[in-house]
Assembly symmetry: C2
Homo-oligomer: 772 residues x 2
Amino acid sequence: MERITTALTVLTNTGADRAALPLLWWLGPIAAIVALFFAILFYKQMMRRSEGNEQMKFIAQAVREGAMAYLSRQYRVVALVFVVLFVIFLVLSFLKLQNPIVPFAFLTGGLFSALCGYFGMKTATNASARAAHAASKNLNSGLQVALRAGAVMGLVVVGFALLDITLWFLLLYAGFPILFPQHFISLAANPLPQITAIMLSFGMGASTQALFARVGGGIYTKAADVGADLVGKVEANIPEDDPRNPATIADNVGDNVGDVAGMGADLYESYAGSILATSALGVAAVNLAGNNLLPGKSALQIGLLYITAPIVLSALGIVLSILAIYMVRTKDEASQSELINSLSRGLNLSSIGIAVLSLPLLYVLGLPNWFAIWICVLAGLGVGLVIGKSTEYYTSHAFQPTRNIAEQADTSSATALIEGLAVGMESGAIPVAVVVIGIMISYYVAGGVDNLLMGLFGVGIASVGMLSTLGFTLATDAYGPIADNAGGNAEMSGLDRQVRQRTDELDAVGNTTAAIGKGFAIGSAALTSMALLAAYLEEIRLVLIELRGIDSLLVRGELIPVMQMTMQNFMDFYHVSLLNPSVLAGLFIGAATTFFFSAMTMRAVGRAATGMVEEVRRQFREIKGILDGSARPDYARCVEISTAAAQREMLAPSLVAIIVPVVVGVIFGIPGVLGLLAGALVSGFSLAVTMANAGGAWDNAKKYIEVGEFGGKGSAAHKAAVIGDTVGDPFKDTAGPSLNILIKLMTMVSVVFAGLVVAFSQGQGLIYMLLH
Amino acid sequence: MERITTALTVLTNTGADRAALPLLWWLGPIAAIVALFFAILFYKQMMRRSEGNEQMKFIAQAVREGAMAYLSRQYRVVALVFVVLFVIFLVLSFLKLQNPIVPFAFLTGGLFSALCGYFGMKTATNASARAAHAASKNLNSGLQVALRAGAVMGLVVVGFALLDITLWFLLLYAGFPILFPQHFISLAANPLPQITAIMLSFGMGASTQALFARVGGGIYTKAADVGADLVGKVEANIPEDDPRNPATIADNVGDNVGDVAGMGADLYESYAGSILATSALGVAAVNLAGNNLLPGKSALQIGLLYITAPIVLSALGIVLSILAIYMVRTKDEASQSELINSLSRGLNLSSIGIAVLSLPLLYVLGLPNWFAIWICVLAGLGVGLVIGKSTEYYTSHAFQPTRNIAEQADTSSATALIEGLAVGMESGAIPVAVVVIGIMISYYVAGGVDNLLMGLFGVGIASVGMLSTLGFTLATDAYGPIADNAGGNAEMSGLDRQVRQRTDELDAVGNTTAAIGKGFAIGSAALTSMALLAAYLEEIRLVLIELRGIDSLLVRGELIPVMQMTMQNFMDFYHVSLLNPSVLAGLFIGAATTFFFSAMTMRAVGRAATGMVEEVRRQFREIKGILDGSARPDYARCVEISTAAAQREMLAPSLVAIIVPVVVGVIFGIPGVLGLLAGALVSGFSLAVTMANAGGAWDNAKKYIEVGEFGGKGSAAHKAAVIGDTVGDPFKDTAGPSLNILIKLMTMVSVVFAGLVVAFSQGQGLIYMLLH
């Protein structure tokens, strides 16, 4: 007991000169609570609405039950994984290979992420029938219900993330020193590096949860979708969401578990990860620069300013998001273009708001390089917007690339597939270009020439700025599947065709905004990962001091205190150069891991979908009267198949993400890990964009044909496009988005297992040990 | 004139202590001439055989004319590109940004590569009817004709490559100093670094030619193939190579221009590139180690040993390849398994021969670390064999992955496509693992811990060892399309069904050996590229001294003579660390370039195939009586369409490969280039394996169904598999193999344009210039 107490106090010691938190820091927890308050408000408003007639309620109830049954089974599997990892971390702690607070921080990251998924999905499944019912009144009412329900998800994510981060910080900064008053001077007067390093492990909890949610949800939804489409649309020639299709309920459940719960966990992780990585870098940058940055203030005081900066930006983003949600309201009988304008207004308001208001906030906060940091925020917003626009260009059928696919579909499915793959592969060029430009601008503007860590802090701030309005962008993201489900409900309940038309319009509006949301998600992943590379080395520094008790290292013949080692010293000590075969091995393995991981998730979808196809065919064959509507298909069996398949299939790919960095770290050491992370980042980014956009483009090429081009529904071109869409489903909804998380989870795993890796020749790895 | 003379002599000065070439070095040119002699012998033997009846001759002639017409048009376009590049190089030379011999070395690389393509294709197009005619006697005769014809290609490639390399070396080492006797002491007493650096630009000629051949040939063959398959097989339900199909001659021409001429140029480039890169590294390693390696000998004398090592290995490989070709002969009525055994015997003989005989040769040569270098040869062979076996596992329908695709085809084409993509993505894991293991073994065994360059020389030797038996492996590779064409000829000439069965068997045997050949090609590309990264920095060293007149640089506060800078000094001077945003930008752009390039080549195939599909449909519609055989289709029109499409489409992707490294070099400097090359290498490797194996697996899944599984030919599963095969065509025969060359061409371009890049702040790049 005393050991634990001792350990905890060691880790939380704040030294003699305790500094008060900047006043603006408190905006963080306040905004978090405000976000949660509005989430509850929107939820209650939504629940007060009517769910419509009995048939609508029945279908909504079936989807709800399926979704919740899935979620509880998923959480049970994930809980098991968390318990195993928790025990591993505890054992590592007792072996002095791990910080003893890490296991707990890890747990809360996972827990809050799971809560977001739960609340988001509860809201979404309650909203679909209500949105359908509201849409039977008019378009705007449907929009309001769906968007407000999506906003619950958005606000819960940002609220919980910011709450968890600020509470942990309070606990580590002020709580533990009060609870355990003995002080151990370990990192001079500045405990912030320790605190931010511990908090990164909270990110690993969120990432692990997110990967399971994305992979499991992605498998579920696409197995159902592919199964429903292939047999229903192609073979039996019945429309989407037709109640005669046995897989239709599973399909609608899938939208919720994949696109709502999965996406929520995904973006929770991105949001929290970018704030945590940026904080760690800010502290590290200040630590090395000393008090040159702001004469007269201690490193602790300046560090607190840099920790506060991302929190202030996020708090501002929350307020703007709530305002933006309220902005989205139009006349009762709005046209579609008015709707799009309305949503765009929200997006513009929040983006411009961040751009304009962050300047005075950063100034008032008192950051020495406040203007430069503001430029980084702008760079981040710019990157997100351009990626979003590029995504829209490549995936919307208003533009040439998607129309070309439709044209190729008129030749054959094979040429449509080739063209779609080409569109996807081409579409990475603009995002990569703007990410590179964004990195260069924020790195150099923030001061990377003199202080590499400050440059990377700038890159981190760019990703925080980009994600700051997540409350709103996620609302517009989550709104899509809700509108989609509303349409399904309307179709299955046999509502007026006009209702279905309206929900389709809502869905279509959502696609445009979702493209921009995706741009933000993937752009921030790239920027955050770059920041995490440096955060990883900061973690190594602490591990060397805290766990290994190493005060100084011999770097190229010079003994340098570990506390004062620059990033360059680390690179020198670990021989991290592009000609070191361990770095190249890491790069190779990193790139290959992204492909291998995608293979696993794609195959999982393929296998699960085959099971679904067989079941749907069996029902059509064995249950007489399904097609003429005289008999009801066995929906539950299809839900069960998707659920079981997702559970079975999600484990292996997720374990790959956890095991690879540890094994590479042990064998190739820290140069290998850095290579691995960089390789996975650059290769995974291109691959993820390729998959997401190819999938999106196939989907919309199909829709383009459905609106009457190239022969319209039922034509040969349409059949070819449906095949493209089906291949694209696991691309855009399973493998592609999972890659984002894979990249970051591998970094987080590296950070958390740094202690183990450093145990092998100070992190030079087994191969080095054997050769020296 | 005098300036040129002066320049030439500067570049070729050998200093005072001229050393004689090691006796074993002369094995190189001798083996090259022997190879060319046997190539002529095999060609004459083949030409003495009968081409069969009039119809066979007519078809062979049509294919021959189409192929030669294509080749001459391709060469005209490429010649134009070469002239432009030649002029650019000349201008750069006069601006002192380029070595004045480079333009000429560049030209010969391209010229000899073009000759290989020409002779290879001339042989192949003359052999097909003869192989068909021989196969009408018995299986073994068909095998002999096809394999010997393939051997012409194999021997021409290794012969010309080794001849060009050894002649240039003689000219630079001994010829120029005699022609231009004034001596300019520029690199002390050792001219080898200059000579090997100049010779690398010969590699760029070969790479440029190879890329055009691969991309152009790949587009040609797949446009014809896809067009023929989609309309002929799927829509009109006529079998492969049916004379009623208007695209069938174009399809057969395509096999020759893509799989023979394209592959020949590809492997010529790999073979020459690995020898050149390894020589450059050997010289550099010796140069830095000084005469510690072999006391009593000068750096020049030791350097000559290291230059001789890859040449001796290649010479040995040529002799073994010729023996292996003679080994492949069985009884007249051999069964298929006997045939496979016969081919495998040849492969085993040459591989074991290299493994056993290289040990005494390296010992006799007198390399100080001869045993270690021998281990590297073994490592290289091992990597090639394992990748080959892994390729076979993933793409042969004797194994589970391909059968799974066939099974998924029974569900739908979409699931077959998903499964195939998953198989491809998964199949990179083993190749990456063995490449990493091969790199680690050869690097450390060769002595990379003490001398990084010697470690990389070991990696280079591994790739030379792997490719040493190319004479034979390429024969088995080129033999495939010849057998395929023989089958086409038999089918179109209405020969006995038994003949077609025999050629199909020959084709099938070729698939197995071709898989191993592909393993060698892609494995060596990875190893050579790694070696080229260091060779690039060696080039920078020479550029700094020769062109910029910089004798020493300030590296971290210490003034170091450029001649004595270690690789680490270069890394330090240019800030090449994984946290340098320029390096990361390069990595991002490198990965993205491989995707973008693939998109361009895939789309080119899609576009060209669409044109072909429309033409074939038009002919079926407009030329009455094609399908009942009463009218002859317009073959020439289809040949023309493929030719024109390939010409039009090959330029843009090839220019990307040339422009990107130059632009990245100018903007981001040398750290950016190194990042670019590493990013393209690791991402391109995984992507290339993915594409090649997914394509191969789809192809064989279709064949598996055709032999009677899942309903056999004409079943729904078969139709689904044909779609998969069609999507796989550009994967495996256009984009995938082109990536290999892209990776190396980008490195070669960087090497050749090093002078231009160094002109910007000594190679720190524009961004650095602007910021400092």
